[in-house]
Amino acid sequence: MPPNFANTIRRIVSSSLLIAAGLISSQVAAQSPLFQPLFEVLTHPRCLNCHTKTDFPRQGDERRRHAQLVVRGEDNHGAPTLQCSACHQDENVADGAVPGAPHWALAPLSMAWEELSPSELCAVLKDTSKNGNRNLEALFKHMSEDELVLWGWTPGGDRTTPPLSQPAFVEALRAWVDAGGPC
């Protein structure tokens, strides 16, 4: 092979690699690595089953429709006389069969996370018109202290927990908030 031709091939290959690398890195950049661990927690069934976009909650890791055909209701606490609190007490029952935590309810429809991409969920999470008018620090407080959120890590029975431990989640949340909430 003539040396000039070999150099040309090398230049084409290396520039192609650079372009490809650029494309890949731009895709990664569209999804902040700081948000990725949060996304994995927020889309775990313990969180997502009550952050539904439906008129009913879900249950189980397979995310089936909640038994007894319970409904969301106008205030996200169930039907007027079949409230979430008819069964869900302020704590899990002793044998773990029925989960419970204070103010048990569905998240409002504006906070529905089902089927959202990471960037979509990130945007919804930060949108103060949808998230209960919470800025990043208020989000941090809610997601690190709220008793119903914390239940996700002590769900009782044989329920699975989110992929990060609760302290690791708080650490990841702090890093994301300190970085300005990148999506």
Binding site: V70, A79, T81, L82, S85, A86
Partner: protein
Amino acid sequence: MFTIRVNGVEHTVDASEDKPLLWVLRENLKLTGTKYGCGQALCGSCTVHVDGQPTRSCVMPISAVGNKQIRTIEDINTEHIGSLVQQTWQTLNVPQCGYCQSGQIMAATALLKNNASPSDQDIDKAMSGNICRCGTYPRIRKAIHKIAAEQL
């Protein structure tokens, strides 16, 4: 020791803090009209009113009752609507085996107190947690509609 208010009367009972309200009612207070079904809030037979809201007494620990007013099937006829529900249940012969019916009556009474003219959909939403293995659902629905149409 816990002091709870049941059917308008204060009772002081000696029970562990995690004892379900159902068993305090049945064992300590001998109010056996409220039934044990599944023990996991899945069937509705243990339904009582807690501050007017239907609640599954099998999963509510006595320690969670506090000052809330408990009303059971034994006292529901002292309310106008509760009395109507019981009378209509008899008129239409709603129960078959009857095991779930005290829970059904507590749920239906709460529904009719909240909604004087419930649609079929309202009935479904309010009553779907009360299971009847005899399948008396059509008569339950008919009785609720009859009360709403004729007497409320």
